[in-house]
């Protein structure tokens, strides 16, 4: 291999610089003959060096500088398109509707209890409501206030059973979130004993109240 390399180089040199019909052409003529190959080669080399060292490096620098900004732009785009404006409006509307279900102040609780008492009165029951302390709810956005109620049927009530059912339905239609947690009905020798009702009222947490 070592012995062939110079001869191959020599052969290449001959191919490159051979002047047809002039084997003993001087170096100047041989160089002139080689120019059509050498000049493009030099140009190719210079072009390649410029392309890969200067131009590409510049492009990569721009791209590296642009990358975090592009990521930011993409993130903004992703966030923009993660939720449609219609969905935002709908959610806001639902949140407003949901917030109306909450009993926000003690006065509102009192008014609600008064309303329920009147409802029970209208259906033949004497109602007493006892509002308890709000339960702690660490994870939730609402707290619950227990209400214990006792509905005593009036002696002259004609149909206490249907009156009770209507009263229970009224709890759901009160416009507030009232959870009926327990119902206890006892009848003794055709006489209605006081009906025990345990309710739960939803209230916003203190900071939720402030934000609303």
């Amino acid at each position: 291999m070592k012995t062939k390399t110079p001869s191959r180089g020599q052969a290449f040199w001959q191919v490159l610089t051979e002047v047809p019909g002039w084997p003993d052409a001087p170096v100047s003529a041989r160089v002139r003959r080689a120019l059509p190959v050498v000049l493009p080669l030099i140009a190719l080399f210079v072009l390649a060096v410029w392309r890969w060292n200067s131009l590409e490096a510049q492009l990569q620098a721009y791209r590296a500088e642009t990358r975090p900004l592009l990521a930011l732009e993409n993130e903004v785009f992703r966030l923009e398109n993660s939720v449609s404006p219609e969905a935002v409006a709908e959610l806001n509307e639902r949140a407003v509707v949901a917030s109306r279900l909450l009993v926000k102040t003690p006065e509102e609780i009192t008014a609600l209890m008064t309303g329920l008492k009147n409802e029970a009165e209208a259906r033949g029951f004497d109602a007493t409501w006892t509002v308890g302390e709000s339960e702690e709810n660490e994870d939730g956005v609402v707290t619950f206030t227990p209400v214990r109620g006792k509905l005593t049927a009036k002696p002259n009530i004609a149909d206490p059973f249907n009156g009770l059912l209507a009263m229970l339905d009224r709890l759901q239609a009160a416009g507030k979130r009232i959870d009926l947690m327990r119902l206890s009905v006892r009848v003794d020798e055709q006489k209605w004993r006081p009906v025990e009702v345990n309710l739960r009222l939803a209230q916003p947490k203190e900071h939720e109240k402030a934000s609303q």
Binding site: G21, P36, L55, L59, L69, L91, L165, L183, N198
Partner: protein, 482 residues
């Protein structure tokens, strides 16, 4: 002397450096004779014959310069018909296995020759054979002799493209119809001080070739004897009876009579007017790839070098074009990247602000979703009233419900219930009615599941000695559906 010649040759070459045409110069160097002719597109333009004997390379060089001047040759390509004492023609019988085997055998013969006489340029010419062996005629030209000719041509920027033995133009004359075909013929041509002989079959296929050291104008008797020996050789070796001898060139009646006398009265002696210039003309039509061309390999190498060179140039320019396009495209991409960077940089603050707004919006939405879920979607359904109504609707007339309890268990998020009452009838009746009631509640939308251990039926007696007329019961369970 040598330096003077070289410098004069170089000067000659430089003076011709720019003066080139497509003309071809044919040289016939035949044992002392020197003929030159210029052909333009295979048509004879001008011919010249050296009046002096040309035997050596210096004499050849002088004759060549004189010829190029006389014919005013401005081309590059030169071909040579050579008949010289250094140009050896050796018949060989090669094994008939294959072309490769024959070529290998011939190469071995050439190598043996080279051991004695030095390196040669060689080429083989297939001849007719009557035996199983393949007959060849090896043409071997000493490389030093060729280099001498080639060097002086190259020094003048001429390109020697063909070197052919004299047998080639003779066969061309035979094939071209210059000599009537149809019967075997012995062709004799004056090649300077010698006579080239070619024996051919009726279909013009060459049988053998000889060079006789005699000419019919100087020693017709001796030539006649040699021709007759050739006729006999053809008869003996190839079984071909040749009754016709054809002399290419000019021969007077006395010469013909002498030859007739030596060859036999039954042989025909014809004279065909043909000169070395005609042979040059015939060879000018040949391709440089003719199989008997001694320098065909050199030409192939030269073409390959030219192809490599041109390919290299083309590849370089193509590379420049491709790389240039790529660089242009990269420049455009760089400009785009710069503009994009500027645009993004200008909007950077706004984008950060917008991102913060959107993150806050999404957090608010998450809070709202949790709020809605807890306030509205997770509200406890109003099961107790519905269950009470359902129990009241399915309970039989003979069953009196005294207690109904339904409560929500926050730990399991399920409803628990308890029913107590009284059944009028015996224990079995109470059992059946309760089972029926339980089945109805189990199959209802509430899918009640009763605790087996919590079911109690107790008889109620009014008097101590009387049979109980009613049964008290209590059942408990849970609801699977709200």
């Amino acid at each position: 002397m040598s330096e003077t010649r070289t410098s004069s040759s170089s000067a000659h070459a430089r003076s011709r450096f720019r003066r080139r045409s497509n003309d071809t110069l044919g040289i016939a160097w035949l044992h002392g004779e020197f003929h030159a002719a210029v052909f333009r597109r295979q048509s004879l333009v001008r011919a010249w014959t050296c009046s002096e004997t040309v035997d050596t390379l210096p004499a050849f060089e002088a004759a060549f310069d004189a010829a190029t001047a006389a014919v005013d040759f401005s081309g590059v390509e030169v071909f040579l018909i050579l008949a010289h004492e250094q140009f050896v023609h050796q018949p060989e019988q090669a094994p008939p296995f294959s072309e490769a085997a024959a070529r290998s055998y011939l190469r071995g013969r050439v190598e043996r020759f080279e051991k004695e006489h030095g390196p040669v340029l060689w080429v083989s010419q297939r001849m007719a054979s009557v035996r199983q062996d393949a007959a060849y005629l090896l043409h071997m030209l000493p490389a030093a002799f060729y280099d001498g000719i080639n060097s002086l041509l190259l020094a003048r920027r001429f390109d020697l493209t063909r070197v052919l033995p004299a047998s080639v133009p003779l066969q061309l004359v035979l094939e071209s119809g210059g000599v009537a075909k149809g019967q075997p013929v012995l062709l004799a041509a004056a090649t300077g001080s010698t006579t080239a002989v070619l024996a051919a079959k009726a279909d013009a296929e060459a049988l053998f070739s000889r060079t006789l050291q005699a000419g019919w104008d100087r020693d017709p008797a001796r030539l006649g004897v040699e021709l007759n020996r050739s006729l006999l050789y053809a008869k003996q070796q190839f079984g071909v009876a040749m009754n016709r001898v054809c002399l290419l060139g000019a021969a007077d009646a006395a010469t013909r009579a002498e030859l007739q006398a030596r060859c036999g009265e039954d042989r025909t002696i014809d004279v065909v007017a043909s000169s070395p210039t005609d042979w040059l003309h015939a060879v000018a039509r040949l391709s440089a790839r003719h199989p008997v061309n001694l320098v065909a390999g050199y030409l192939g190498r030269k073409r390959r070098n030219q192809l490599i060179r041109r390919s290299l140039i083309a590849a370089c320019w193509l590379g420049i074009a491709v790389l240039g396009l790529d660089a242009w495209a990269t420049t455009l991409r760089t400009q785009e990247a710069r503009m994009r960077l500027e645009e993004l940089g200008a909007n950077q603050a706004a984008m950060y602000q917008r991102r913060a707004e959107l993150i806050a919006r999404n957090q608010t939405m998450d809070t709202q979703r949790r709020f809605i879920a807890q306030v509205d979607e997770e509200r406890v359904p109003s099961v107790p009233g519905k269950l009470l109504a359902y129990v009241a609707s399915v309970i039989p007339q003979t069953v009196a419900l005294t207690e109904f309890q339904c409560r929500h268990d926050p730990a399991t998020a399920r409803w628990r219930f308890r029913l107590e009452g009284r059944v009028d009838g015996d224990e079995e009746t109470a059992h059946d009615l309760l089972t029926s009631l339980q089945r109805q509640l189990t199959r209802s939308v509430f899918q009640a599941r009763f605790d087996d251990t919590a079911r109690v039926i107790v008889p109620v007696s009014i008097a101590a000695d009387a049979l109980p007329d009613s049964q008290r019961f209590a059942v408990e369970g849970g609801l699977f559906e709200n």
